[in-house]
């Protein structure tokens, strides 16, 4: 297998899924009508409801759904089961489930006055479904935050050459905010200055490696070389598991990331979050654009970076720790999340994008099109790790992507630095916004019962403390799979809701119903397997050794997994009852669509 063939397969998948399946569903089942007024045009308020051109909305939606998920999921799956199962699930998942989930979440919201999934669940299924979804979302966000902080801290600690670039990115983000919003400098000049300096700092990372390596060593000397936390890591020793240590340097970088996120969460958007995202966009866009094109032409220009070097298939149930099980079904389907299907997309599509759809004919290109584009991003990550194969998963990804970028004549050490930076920036900019949403969610959820969490600093610090606790368990791979399970379960619940709605309006529900059943069963099974793995591979060994931090963290993870399963079962029962009710007697026909002016 080589990268050119994979790129061709990817392009064909996008073309066939869109033209042969998605368009057919859009025309025959949903019957999107360009003349039907959308919530954006009916309730335009300039903030929430705003008719937006389809090209702009596509970019906005894609930017909001494409984060670390498609990259990390593909990397972890390839390292556990090999590249072949990963690429097959990516192709089949996006073709038959992924686009349908994203698209139908937008459709159901557009056809229900722009309401969110929880509001529609309240109306179509039952009032308690809405409450259960609310609790579900908070824990889902917590898992994402823990998984993202964990992987970033590990990369920063183990790759001192990346640290300087991230520090400069933060400084340049703050400078850009000051230049644009206080000094009113022109955007072009400010962009050239801040992005240029950040890019130089990233490329100069190799020169600063010694300084930050010494900083790490100095931090570790604070405890005389003793670890802060010792835990059992099932990923070590060829997946047989071994004792691992969290050193002060890793905690330092985890706390540094949290400090960054805290600032992103409580400072005004214009001061930090927005300009950092803006500068970061240029870094990631440059790396991804050069990387994807490089992957396509590498076979002709630089064949040594175009051949897959990791095994195509590593086994149906690779051993992960002494007591762990990692069966391909259901675990592959939650490990690779966003590149094939994602609940976040449905959640965001229903409450954000749907309220900006100008014309029903835009629902498919924006919703389905964005998902298919994200599939290409996941494919790029898979290719990078498949040809890289040096070191830990993220290092393999950076090596592979660096190889693709080097096709354009960029020296390999600079190209790899850029790839590392692109990865960190993608995860970092999402995580800072994530904590902001968590802070608001926590305040909304518990503000009446525990008044102090209404304070933005308290709510932010509580969210950060919970995420750090998860990181300190050290069991990152399980944390990721728990997040994947919650994410895919969210997608299953969204598809379930769409199925109920389709039944309620007397439409063919199979295109959403069959994927809903598959994802629902798969994700519940995956959450149970993950809970089993965490309990036997992490909780028990650490309990036996009397290590309290991993015990509390892993205990929390088992609890969250079981809570998610319980929530899903309750929603599933309510959904099934509603589905049966509507199949026996569909809801009254909706009012005729208002004509567009």
């Amino acid at each position: 297998m080589n990268t050119l063939l994979a790129v061709i397969i990817g392009a064909l998948t996008v073309y066939l899924a869109y033209t042969l399946y998605a368009r057919r569903i859009d025309r025959r089942v949903i019957q999107s009508d360009p003349k039907r007024a959308t919530p954006a045009t009916l309730y335009m308020d300039g903030v929430d409801f705003m008719p937006t051109n389809r090209n702009i909305l596509f970019g906005y939606h894609f930017k909001s759904i494409a984060a670390a998920g498609p990259i990390i999921g593909a990397i972890v799956a390839a390292s556990l089961w090999g590249w072949l199962p990963a690429i097959i699930w990516l192709i089949l998942g996006v073709s038959f489930i992924g686009w349908a989930s994203d698209y139908s979440a937008i459709v159901i919201s557009v056809r229900n006055d722009g309401n969110s999934l929880s509001a529609i669940a309240h109306k179509l299924v039952s009032p308690r479904t809405r409450t259960v979804l609310f609790v579900f979302i908070f824990f889902y966000l917590l898992l994402v935050a823990g998984a993202f902080v964990g992987i970033m801290a590990t990369v920063l600690e183990s790759q001192p050459k990346t640290q300087f670039g991230v520090i400069v990115l933060t400084a340049m983000g703050l400078l850009l905010g000051q230049m644009l919003y206080r000094w009113r400098t022109g955007l072009v000049g400010a962009t050239v200055l801040t992005v240029g300096i950040t890019m130089l700092a990233i490329l100069a990372g190799g020169w600063s490696e010694g300084i930050f390596g010494a900083l790490n060593a100095g931090l570790n000397n604070l405890t005389g070389g003793a670890p802060i936390v010792t835990y059992f890591d099932p990923m070590l020793a060829g997946f047989k598991g071994a004792e691992a240590k969290i050193m002060p340097s890793l905690l330092f970088w985890a706390l540094a990331i949290c400090a960054f996120c805290y600032a992103g969460s409580v400072l005004p958007i214009w001061r930090m979050a927005q300009p950092v995202v803006y500068v970061g966009f240029w870094i990631t866009a440059t790396a991804m654009f050069l990387g994807l094109l490089g992957a396509a032409v590498a076979g002709f220009v630089k064949p040594e970076v175009a051949q897959f070097v990791i095994p195509a298939f590593r086994g149906w149930n690779p051993q992960l720790g002494p007591s762990g099980i990692m069966p391909l079904w259901p675990m592959l389907f939650v490990t690779i999340a966003c590149g094939a299907i994602s609940g976040w997309h449905a959640l965001f599509g229903a409450v954000g994008t749907a309220r900006q759809i100008e014309n029903e004919a835009d629902m498919l290109p924006v919703g389905g099109g964005s998902m298919l584009t994200e599939f290409l991003l996941a494919l790029l990550a898979l290719l990078a790790v498949a040809v890289g194969a040096k070191g830990a998963p993220v290092a393999a990804f950076a090596t592979g992507l660096g190889g693709f970028i080097s096709v354009w004549g960029v020296p390999i050490q600079y190209a790899t630095s850029l790839a590392f930076a692109a990865f960190i920036v993608i995860v970092l900019v999402v995580t800072q916004l994530l904590f902001r949403v968590m802070r608001v969610t926590l305040s909304e959820w518990l503000g009446d019962v525990i008044p102090p969490v209404r304070n933005q600093h308290v709510a932010s610090l509580v969210s950060i403390a919970l995420a750090i606790l998860l990181v300190l368990t050290g069991t990152w791979v399980y944390l990721w799979q728990l997040f994947g399970g919650a994410n895919q379960l969210m997608a299953a619940l969204s598809l379930l809701l769409v199925t109920v709605w389709l039944a309620s309006v007397g439409k063919n529900w199979l295109f959403a119903g069959l994927p809903a059943i598959f994802m629902y069963v798969t994700t519940i099974a995956a959450l149970l397997v993950t809970a089993y793995n965490i309990y036997f591979n992490v909780y028990q060994p650490n309990m036996a050794a009397g290590r309290m931090v991993p015990v509390v963290g892993s205990g929390l993870m088992v609890l969250v997994a079981l809570l998610l399963v319980a929530a899903a079962i309750m929603i599933g029962i309510d959904g099934w009852r509603a589905f049966q009710r509507y199949r026996r007697r569909p809801a009254p026909a909706p009012k005729p669509a208002a004509a567009r002016a």
Partner: protein, 109 residues
């Protein structure tokens, strides 16, 4: 559950410094008044200056200060909206003189 509204409110409230927020509200009010004064002959497209699209537009139209307006090829930079009204009226007159052509476009960076 109101979560969406609360997140949205939080984001909108901290999106701009106070003086820029006031300026943005003035700009919004002016843009909303356009249909009343020019009927449907004017199409407004608002572009966020601090975005990728804003970068491209700023580069192509050589804008260094904001808000910047482009009315049918003519530029104005500043907050005196009456001057933009004059540009729009002039553009509409020219269009009418040239008989039936597509509606003019007003853009703001």
């Amino acid at each position: 559950m109101g979560l969406r509204q609360n997140v949205q409110r939080d984001l909108v409230a901290s999106a701009l410094p106070e003086e820029l927020q006031a300026e943005f509200h003035q700009l919004s009010a002016w843009a909303r008044s356009l249909p009343g004064r020019f009927d449907d002959r004017v199409r407004v497209r608002l572009v966020d200056a601090a975005s990728i699209e804003g970068f491209v537009k700023s580069l192509l139209r050589r804008c260094r200060r904001y808000p910047a307006f482009a009315v049918d090829g003519q530029r104005y930079v500043g907050s005196d909206f009456s001057r933009v009204d004059v540009l729009i009226a002039g553009a509409l007159r020219r269009k009418e003189a040239e008989s039936t052509v597509p509606p003019s476009a007003a853009k703001s960076n």
